[in-house]
């Protein structure tokens, strides 16, 4: 039983022109990549980026401003690019190859090694890099620029798509700002002011930023004076104080869909793919194991890395290897005990087993350390773990799969299955937060628009049709479920912790005695 997929409709002349402009811009980048020697690099780069942005702007205006305000999802499952058709796969392959080259074969992009000057695509970006920071471009500068261009151009498109919805507009303006300022411009200017400070996007906190506490970075921070120390302290406060507080008040959305760069790309350039995430129960089960495993890996890896560069002697400096391990062990134990005492009943069976299992792993690693005589904490070489994490999680998972597979797995595959930061914030959101998506009484008609458009693969409808609020670790609070609901059933809210989770059998609107009987048993 299936309906044939009709052909998507033809596009307007204006859109064809817009596509021509945008792809001309892209073509300039391809020429540079093919080592065609372009004169006036600054001019060609400006032209290229300008054409790309211009193409997206013209296309978006024709797409949305020619229609009345409202939900614009017509043909999402018909268009080849957004329904895993030929164009979707082509885009997926191209993006994936781009990420592989970017991470592992940057010389193919023209990165000059051993002091040689850049060529090809990277050389095209030299003038912009010189302008901002006074040095030549790297592959990361090229990537950062294109990333920012994508968020800004497609952010504009997204704002037009939701021009009736101020929540969507403000949130998009926010990710555009944080990407442009904090991820892109400020670090470049910082380099100009003080080249000893390493590249630092202060919103990109550990554990998403897995190299935050690498020795070279910490050394550079400490050696670059007050500003470096301030960055270091802010980095620690971010994860231990600022983010728990904001997540308590607003849910993890304050980060994931208002600030984060990965989230920013997913919400803008990735928006046309949001419905592709799997809503199956099996996907949710996989998600829970995978993302928490990455988090544990990240904690163990970071602990081991920090351990290697701390001193032995507590007399020289109080924060030595042993004290650090005690601190980590103590902190994790505290979290574990608090959850098991106060929130045990809110954990699923598998979550309890998982928590106990991971606690045992970490406790036994620390115990082995104290009973053994090895120099390597946890018997595992810290350097090896660090590079394995960087390779498998940092590059393959977050980049190649996370973004390369947008047209296949949806736009939040990394955020959902891999991001350790999302795991931390999600844990806080599920356990201690005022945030929830409220279901409006008995108004749900089970249509499924909410679940369909959930980029995190939450089966929103499963809750809404029971009249139950949605309180899920993975919810990034993008608000699109609420926007697409045809009956006004869903609202993102920060409210009291009491009654936040409210399973019901009989919904509001039925016999009050029956509701009483069924809902309070």
């Amino acid at each position: 039983m299936s309906l044939a997929k009709p052909n998507a409709q033809d596009i307007s002349t204006k859109k064809k022109v817009a596509l021509g402009i945008g792809f001309t811009g892209l073509f300039i980048l391809v020429l540079a990549l093919a080592n065609v020697e372009l004169p006036y690099k600054g001019l060609f780069l400006t032209l290229s980026l300008g054409l790309i942005i211009g193409g997206v702007v013209i296309y978006s205006r024709d797409e949305y401003l020619t229609k009345l305000e409202g939900i614009k999802n017509d043909e999402a499952w018909f268009k080849s690019i957004s329904s895993r058709g030929t164009w979707g796969w082509v885009l997926g392959v191209v993006l994936t190859l781009f990420y592989i080259v970017l991470y592992f074969f940057a010389e193919l992009l023209g990165l000059g090694t051993d002091g040689a000057s850049n060529t090809g695509l990277i050389a095209l970006f030299d003038p912009l890099s010189q302008l901002l920071s006074g040095r030549n471009a790297s592959q990361w500068f090229v990537y950062g620029t294109l990333y920012t261009v994508a968020i800004v151009a497609f952010g504009y498109k997204f704002m037009l798509k939701y021009r009736h919805n101020r929540y969507q507009q403000l949130r998009t303006a926010s990710v555009m700002f944080f990407q442009m300022a904090f991820a892109f411009l400020i670090p470049e200017f910082m380099y100009r002011l003080n080249s000893d400070v390493p590249y630092n996007d202060i919103k990109n906190m550990w554990p998403l930023n897995y190299y935050a506490f690498d020795q070279w970075r910490v050394d550079q921070f400490i050696n670059s004076g007050t500003i470096g120390m301030a960055f270091l302290i802010f980095g620690i406060l971010s994860i231990f104080v600022i983010s728990p507080f904001l997540t308590y008040k607003y849910g993890k959305r304050w980060y994931c869909s208002w600030v984060c760069g990965c989230g920013g790309l997913a919400e803008t350039a990735g928006d046309p793919f949001r419905h592709l995430s799997s809503k199956k129960m099996s996907a949710w089960k996989l998600e829970r194991w995978l993302i928490h495993t990455v988090l544990v890996f990240s904690v163990v890896m970071t602990t081991a890395v920090i351990y290697t560069y701390l001193g032995y002697d507590a007399e020289k400096y109080w924060f030595n290897k042993d004290n650090f391990l005690l601190f980590v062990g103590g902190f994790l134990t505290l979290v574990f005990v608090v959850i098991m005492v106060f929130k045990r009943h809110e954990l699923g069976k598998d979550a309890r087993y998982g928590a106990i299992g991971y606690a045992l792993v970490i406790v036994s690693l620390i115990a082995m350390h104290y009973t053994g005589t090895t120099n390597e904490v946890f018997y595992l070489p810290a350097g090896g773990m660090r590079s394995a994490y960087g390779f498998y999680i940092g590059s393959i998972f977050s980049g190649v799969i996370g973004t390369g597979f947008y047209p296949i797995l949806g736009n939040r595959a990394w955020c959902r299955f891999g991001c350790p930061m999302a795991a931390v914030l999600g844990f806080q959101q599920r356990m201690f937060s005022k945030f929830r998506i409220t279901t409006n009484g008995g108004q749900c008609i089970s249509c499924g628009n909410c679940s369909n458009s959930c980029e995190m693969g939450i089966d929103v409808r499963a809750y809404a049709q029971k009249g139950e609020n949605i309180v899920r670790s993975s919810c990034v609070g993008c608000g699109v479920c609420s926007a697409v609901c045809p009956r006004g059933v869903l609202k993102l809210e920060n409210g009291s912790l009491d009654g936040r989770i409210n399973p019901t059998d009989v919904l509001l609107g039925n016999d009050v005695d029956l509701m009483e009987l069924m809902n309070n048993k």
Partner: protein, 434 residues
């Protein structure tokens, strides 16, 4: 352990099945001729529009039924033998039951228009109707124009669907303003304008005379009663309401009116045979409700209630305060309590009406002229909280209280502009001048 058979896998039948399973170990079988699995009928339009695929309209994954020991059977029941407690399928198979729940929903109305059974003429209710529409109107090249007959909720949905594929739509509405048998004039007018804004050729006060066939038995035009005008078209949508889908029960001995007659326990005249959802007709209307309510929520509530009775806790069907919702193209509509149109409201019912200057949002609050008792609210383009109104209706609040506390009931997304102050000002203003 009873053997419970449910005919119909829509919201009513499925809700009953789910609740019976929660409360008991009875054997449960759901029979449907339409689809293998329960899907959300209200979401069919989104499949045609490409927002979703059919599989996304299924509220439960396919493993759910086996896990909950609810047997699904694909068959068309043509006969109910109540003496033998047996059903007969169109294939001649016999199915025995201890308790039978009839939840067969509705079918589109046809009023004997000449040409109503031609090819290209269809309603929009079932999965098969969706397949038909996909075949009849895949794109604007195949379907140069569609004419929709009947100005209700399904008609406007069908117009929205066809417009999503740029198919020109003419919308024939019998009333002189859209849905004004239900909506007060201001709201009905707002929707008229919105329909025109969507480039739908809305013809008010217009009736269908006949549908003209081409040489292949396919609709090629409609004729309008009032003007005699002949409108060429390839597709005719018949959306003049629905009626209970109960033809297969004619010989069964089960008492029928327009629907299956049931008492307040949702029992028919035959022991162990019940009817719920769109196809059930109350002997006496409950409160201001109609005897037949073809509404999603009613089907669900009846299912929730009947499960109790079937499982030994016999209770009356006693729905709470009326509520409903719909979406007219881009404008959402919610209603709580009773607001009647000018055509059907009583002498006692007075209205306070507020409309945004852009004419895309409005509310109507109904109250008792003398006692000021709050009766109900219609809201267009502003989301409101079910819980608040349900509570205020139970507490029998007056209209002053409701207007003053309106901000508490706002359910629009964060950062949306709020209009409660404007509404309050308009209210004070109108009452002083009135």
């Amino acid at each position: 352990m009873k053997n419970i058979v449910i005919i119909g896998n829509g919201i009513a039948g499925v809700t009953a099945a789910r609740h019976i399973r929660k409360l008991s170990d009875n054997k449960i079988t759901i029979i449907s001729a339409e689809t293998d699995h329960f899907f959300s009928r209200t979401a069919l339009m989104y499949v045609y529009m490409g927002h979703m695929k059919y599989e996304h309209t299924k509220p439960y994954e396919d493993y759910f039924w086996k896990k909950n020991r609810i047997d699904l059977k694909r068959a068309y029941i043509k006969q109910v033998l109540t003496d033998d407690k047996t059903l007969v399928t169109s294939e001649g198979e016999k199915i025995a039951y201890d308790s039978l729940i009839i939840a067969t929903g509705s079918k589109p109305n046809k009023f004997g228009w000449p040409g109503q059974d031609l090819k290209g003429v269809q309603g929009l209710y079932s999965y098969q109707d969706l397949e038909k529409l996909e075949a009849n109107a895949p794109d604007k090249e195949t379907c140069n124009r569609a004419v929709i007959v009947g100005g209700g909720l399904i008609g406007i949905e069908m117009a929205e669907m066809l417009r999503s594929r740029n198919i020109p739509v003419t919308f024939l509405v019998r009333e002189d303003s859209f849905w004004n048998g239900v909506l007060p004039a201001g709201e009905s007018g707002l929707i008229n304008k919105h329909i025109l804004d969507h480039h739908i050729d809305l013809r008010l006060g217009t009736n269908l005379k006949e549908i003209i066939s081409d040489e292949n038995g396919r609709a090629k035009a409609v004729v309008i009663t009032e003007t005699g005008e002949e409108l060429p078209c390839n597709v005719v949508g018949l959306t003049a309401g629905v009626s209970p889908n109960i033809d297969f029960l004619k010989e069964s001995g089960i008492e029928l009116g327009r629907g299956v007659k049931v008492n307040r326990f949702l029992e028919t005249n035959i022991k162990d045979v019940y009817a719920i959802g769109d196809c059930a007709e109350q002997h006496e209307p409950i409160g201001m409700r109609r005897p037949i309510e073809a509404v999603w929520y009613t089907g669900r509530m009846m299912g929730e209630t009947l499960a109790q009775t079937i499982c030994g806790n016999k209770i009356e069907y006693k729905p709470g305060h009326w509520f409903n919702s719909a979406k007219f193209l881009d404008i959402e509509y919610q209603t709580y309590g009773w607001v009647f149109s000018e055509r059907s409201k009583s002498e006692q019912e007075a209205h306070f009406h507020w409309m945004h200057p852009d004419e895309d949002k409005c509310i109507t609050v109904a109250y008792d002229k003398d006692s000021k008792l709050f009766l109900g609210i219609n809201t267009f383009g502003i989301r409101m909280r079910h819980e608040n109104f349900d509570k205020w209706l139970t507490e029998k609040r007056d209209v002053d209280y409701v207007i003053k506390h309106l901000p508490e009931a706002n359910f629009d997304p964060e950062f949306y502009k709020q209009f409660e102050n404007q509404i309050l000002a308009a209210y004070n203003n109108q009452l002083q001048t009135a």
